[in-house]
Amino acid sequence: MDNSRRNFFRVLAGLGLSASLGGTSIARADGGLLPGYPNQFGVLVDTTVCIGCRRCEWACKEWNKLPDQMDLKEYEKDQSVFQDVRRTHANTYTVVNRFENPRDSSKPIFVKKQCMHCYEPGCASSCFVKAFTKRPIGPVTYDASLCVGCRYCMAACPFDIPAYQYDNPWTPEVTKCTFCFDRISKEGGIPACVSICPVETMTFGKRTDLIDLAHKKIMDNPGRYVNHVYGETEVGGTSWMYLSAVPFDKIGFRTDLGTTPIPTLSKPFLSLVSPVFIVVPALAMGMYSFKKRRDEIEKDEIKKALEKKEGK
């Protein structure tokens, strides 16, 4: 990142877009590992435990009063949803998907998906009215009262999470998992989906503790997990993290996201703004006075030449 950024500046500087910016200091928040807010909460999802009952989906709908809710019994019975890999939707903040198990085809793998609550969220850095806030305790929350509905946040989220109420003509909102901010900001509160899970697929706690726990689990059961905690470093680190028995790209995760936080990608460009407003007017005024002076000299010379002609 650093290297390419320097190149970027060199090119701009070379083209006269900005004068020798090579060494300007840009607020540095990037770098592989982010410490995060020290007391940030997180959730560790162990995909080897999940049985695909979809109670978490149900509990999420219940808690967030989302439409299309069914009776819990009915909800659990409905296995047809596993035919397609689903994504989050305006009425569903979290979905459980079924993947084939390359190791044992009789035991499919179920993966719960929701907002990852990135440490440096792409959604928040893209929003031009600051509708998203990264809370020090972890959640990335959305404020519908500011949203203009440009949907840049949806385009900028590397995990394809925010969904849109396309069918609402007047007051559409962006929707996504809230990390049950209202619950976990209370002492002892845990997310609705975590608390309903019958097999304890998810562990809620301090993010740093969860990272330790995850690595310990991998160390203790080397045959059970691949040696990767998804979300520990992806796009700079996320609050929700995953363990898996098979490589993550086999169960619907993108493994090509890198560790650079999304917001840092546009920072070099943003830092060009003020220099341009200083340098370009100066150059332009310079050019302009140069041209004006040239014109005046020209006029003078013509005048003199004419006078000479007439005089003699």
């Binding site: 390419s4 190149n7 970027f8 090119v11 701009l12 083209l15 877009l17 994504r87 305006a90 792409g122 928040a124 850095s125 893209s126 929003c127 031009f128 009215v129 600051k130 509708a131 500011l146 949203c147 203009v148 509905g149 440009c150 949907r151 840049y152 949806m154 385009a155 900028a156 590397p158 394809d160 849109y164 109420q165 396309y166 069918d167 609402n168 003509p169 007047w170 007051t171 559409p172 993108r254 090509d256 996201l257 890198g258 917001p263 990608l265 546009s266 460009f269 943003l270 060009l272 703004v273 341009v276 370009v280 007017p281 332009a284 005024m285 050019m287 302009y288 041209k291 040239r294 014109d295």
Partner: protein, 411 residues
């Protein structure tokens, strides 16, 4: 309400002069029954209900947008192409007012007008894409998302629109016969131009940097940290090409307005613009190659996306660069005009590649986006209204010719 005959006469003569092109109301109405207007009427007849449908029923029923494809052609075509092709005002403004290239002076007003309308209608089209268009002023007055490139775009486009309005004002005041106001705005032109240059440089490239946040969605051949620079340079090309097209077209269509129509002079200027386009295109081509080397994405070239990329870069950048060069060396103004049209298609392809074709390339085919007919109709409608507005103004204000009552602008 009764009006005295005297005021009636005064009003009607003003209306007749300024609005009805010197005709009586009846004659004016009759003069509007043309083939061109019949086509326009047909478009509006379909388009306006579509606009209303979008407003009443929302984005879902009227577009093919989805959670995976939040942006469609209203962003990809109306906004990205519209703004790039409206760069003429900024390019010609810089050349004429800052670099002092007087021979291009007569292009300034048409270019500014085209630029102003281009931006205005890009914004109008954009409002239909916004879920809550009535909050359009929010990024200005309610909440500042300063870390967002889009914030920059919103502000800069709004400010730039005002700059272009200032640059256009002298023509408005000449039309309305307001000498004092005209003088003030003539003086303001230089400042507006310089401010406009900064704004244009930044928002043209900022439109590209929107994609910087999406390395995982945009195909690696198009994703590059040089995107801002690419967008800036191709916008300069777009501005030049549109100026060539627009000046040639309006000198044909509105030739009756120009007292001494001098095709020789227009050809000379067209060739000059062709040269500028050629140079910029060559530079852009080499930048693209550097980008390719820097991103080390050669291995993608031998894939379907790679072929598209090669068509774009060789067919629509290098080839027109060479055609422009050839045409300029052999004094073929006609070729320059043809090539300008061709180049515009290249820029449209480039913007659509970024926003739609090479975007979300990792998604399964069934999840990809293709515009709905209503999205296309709305786009055509907005463009049509834009052209109508342009025509309306061209017929009334001194855009192409010097107003007889005023001495030419001097800086």
């Amino acid at each position: 309400m009764e009006s005295t005959p005297a005021t009636m006469k005064l009003e009607s003569s003003w209306m007749r002069d300024k609005i009805f092109l010197g005709m009586t109301w009846g004659d004016y109405v009759r003069s509007n029954f043309t083939k061109f207007n019949a086509v326009v009427a047909l478009i509006l007849l379909v388009g306006i209900p579509v606009i209303l449908y979008r407003i009443i029923f929302g984005l879902g029923p009227s577009t093919n947008l989805s959670d995976n494809n939040p942006w469609g052609i209203w962003i990809g075509f109306d906004m990205l192409c519209g703004v790039a092709l409206a760069a003429g005002g900024f390019v010609i403004g810089t050349a004429v007012h800052i670099f002092g290239m007087k021979e291009y002076g007569f292009l300034f007003r048409p270019a500014v007008l085209t630029g102003f309308l281009g931006y205005l209608f890009a914004i109008i089209a954009l409002t239909f894409d916004l879920g809550r268009y009535y909050r359009l002023p929010y990024p200005m007055f309610v909440s500042w998302g300063v870390s967002s490139v889009l914030f920059l775009v919103a502000w800069h486009v709004a400010l730039y629109l005002s700059c272009q309005f200032v640059e256009w004002c002298p023509a408005i005041f000449e039309w309305l016969n307001m000498k004092k106001a005209r003088k003030i705005f003539i003086k303001a032109t230089l400042g507006a131009t310089i401010f406009g240059v900064c704004l244009s440089m930044l928002h043209q490239s900022a439109l590209g940097s929107i994609f910087l946040l999406m390395p995982e969605k945009l195909h690696p051949l198009w994703y590059s940290e040089y995107i801002p620079l690419f967008f800036f340079m191709s916008a300069v090309v777009g501005g030049i090409a549109m100026t060539i097209i627009e000046s040639s077209a309006s000198h044909k269509i509105f030739s009756h307005q120009i007292k001494v129509h001098d095709p020789e002079h227009l050809n000379r200027v067209t060739l000059g613009l062709g040269k500028a386009a050629s140079v910029t295109l060559f530079a852009y081509f080499f930048m693209k190659m550097i980008g390719l080397a820097h991103g080390d994405t050669w291995s993608y070239l031998d894939t379907p996306y790679g072929y598209l990329y090669l068509v774009e870069v060789f067919g629509f950048v290098l080839l027109p660069a060479m055609i422009f060069m050839y045409a300029v060396q052999n004094n073929l103004a006609g070729w320059v005009r043809g090539c300008a049209i061709y180049t515009v298609f290249g820029i449209i392809l480039n913007r659509l590649d970024h926003s739609i074709i090479a975007y979300n390339w990792h998604l399964a085919w069934k999840d990809r986006y293709f515009p709905s007919w209503m999205e296309v109709v709305l786009t055509i409608t907005v463009v049509t209204i834009g052209i109508l507005t342009f025509q309306w103004i061209m017929n009334r204000m001194p855009i192409l010719y010097e107003h007889p009552d005023y001495e030419p602008e001097e800086h």
